[in-house]
Symmetry: C2
Subunit: 338 residues, 2 copies
């Protein structure tokens, strides 16, 4: 072992070696104007030569600010529900990048329990300044409780009218509209929305779709399937069951995400239906597989980089005591062949 793995060199060591006091070293390292240029350079060179790095824990203890943001990602339910949608991970990547740019540490958490107390405890124990919660799900009331304790949080999702916390999400209503407009361009008449509208995001997508097709210059039909399971197989089965029951087939299907869209397309094709000839199917999220699928899937893309930046920026403002408004992220229709 060439060098002891526990950092032996502390600020006091640097001070001794540089023939100055601890506070001077501290000031030199933090670019304080209180220290003389020459002294600073000397201290910095000694520090560099010793391979010194400040102990962030001591720093965090002393400052009230920890420069650490907790990010919760519900891997468990992700896995249990067979949500294979990599979108959440793109979002995590965006958040990671944005937090890095703000020089914040990212503490990745997968809370065991979905109650405000568990979240509160993470915040206190781990000493994070705030919490980015990826995915609101059905936890709105819990999050409300959590926010009420004064916890600085930002949530990815869709804002309730009476939310007491900052929500950032894609413009789901606009997303639905874009899909509706796309369908109308093609002269589609019988629309089917597939999703679980008990999720606010899904409800908005449905409403957006509906609002767009109301503008149709001809008669239309609107239908929906409430799909409460998230797996590909559940969606496939639902499609088969649905096709069995209906009298007139829809010619335009908007699925809550790309995986469901793929499942519906597969089911339709297996039943001998031509996609997109007979039916157009549109997804959401633009996961990578969407473009490789055959046919490549028309879908709504959300800018995950922007999302990450906005989530990080809002939260840091909240930590600073401001109360920024909820925000919507760019939403874009990606035209493919489905």
């Amino acid at each position: 072992m060439t060098e002891n793995l526990k950092r032996a060199v502390t600020m006091a060591d640097i001070a001794r070696l540089a023939n100055v006091s601890k506070p001077t070293v501290s000031r030199a390292l933090s670019n304080s104007p209180l220290v003389n240029e020459k002294t600073r350079n000397h201290v910095l060179s000694v520090a560099a030569e010793q391979g010194y790095a400040v102990n962030r824990n001591a720093q965090k203890l002393r400052h009230k600010r920890t420069n650490t943001i907790a990010v919760s990602m519900d891997f468990r339910s992700h896995h249990e529900n067979h949500i294979s949608d990599p979108f959440m991970f793109d979002l995590l990547a965006g958040v990671s990048e944005a937090l890095g740019d703000h020089n914040q540490d990212l503490l990745l958490c997968a809370p065991n329990h979905n109650d405000a107390a568990a979240f509160r405890q993470i915040l206190n124990e781990r000493g994070a300044d705030g919490f980015i919660i990826l995915g609101q799900g059905h936890r709105e009331s819990m999050l409300k409780d959590f926010a009420r304790t004064g916890a600085p949080i930002v949530v990815w999702g869709a804002a309730a009218e009476d939310a007491n916390y900052c929500v950032v999400g894609s413009d789901n209503f606009r997303g639905g509209q874009l899909v509706g407009e796309y369908f109308l361009e093609q002269g589609r008449r019988h629309f089917l929305f597939v999703g679980d509208t008990s999720f606010r995001e899904m409800h908005l997508r449905q409403e957006g779709l509906r609002s767009a097709i109301e503008a149709a210059p001809y008669d239309t039909l609107f239908d929906d399937i409430e799909l409460r399971e998230f797996s590909y197989n559940a969606a496939y089965d639902a499609a088969i069951r649905y096709l069995d029951v209906i009298e007139s087939r829809p010619d335009a299907i908007f699925a809550w995400n790309d995986t469901a869209a793929m499942a519906f397309i597969s089911a339709l094709r297996d039943a001998g239906v031509d996609v997109p000839g007979d039916v157009s199917v549109v997804g959401y999220n633009d996961i990578p597989a969407a473009q490789y699928f055959s046919p490549p899937i028309t879908t709504i893309r959300q800018d995950t980089h922007q999302a990450g930046r906005v989530l990080a920026a809002k939260l840091l403002r909240i930590v600073d005591g401001e109360t920024p408004k909820s925000a919507l992220i760019r939403t874009e229709l990606i035209r493919r062949d489905s």
Copy 2:
């Protein structure tokens, strides 16, 4: 604001309220046998009533152990290379779960620079006990340098013979063998390996494939394409170019991952080739899209949960001063229709 968001209540407060001293509170909370049963219960009830949570930063400062593990994930190159393979994220999920079970905090890092100094700095500054590095890539010599500084690290990848650090990865050689055996079952004769064998993992997969087909009771042909770009489109283009040039078409293709397999299948089908009739194509990783693709892709699945557990367990042993051996993760052939 019902309650001040900065934790006002400290151990000293609890001590005062419980009419004991700070050390007694500390001992009570950590279940030390030094404190009387009755005292402990009293202290615990006061703490609970006050919603007290220890300040981990202070704890980390005092203990030498921080109970924090840094995990590096190269989102940047992930994005730049259009690696859309969600496998790495499954791996992250596995690691997150395993670290949680060991009561370790997970610090997610995306290092700016790929040099040992940058990694060393993260370890020192952020005060992590060790580093899990997801993806070895071409950084072996850097990692060697890093390990030489005494940094406790575990790397996901394939171990070099002379590695001075612990490597955990799937059994790539065995994975290649499984694919080879699968091909032989079907009587395939002309094999094509697609990947970048400058990556140790890929080389092993290739060697595994080769070793399996050497057992063929008939004449075989072995070919490979060195594919240095990772995107679907690059793979598709490579396939088209390759089909243009070759004289006899392979009837068994092993692609380095599922995305490349999908690209090859698409290219083949677009060229009028029947998959799996004329050619069998096998991927690696079993990403969700593999089963939804048409045809569903035969692939190698790696147990990401086991991977996470092993990575975490090895690293914690290293932190404790042991030097565990590198390890291989279960690898399994998933038979589908490609």
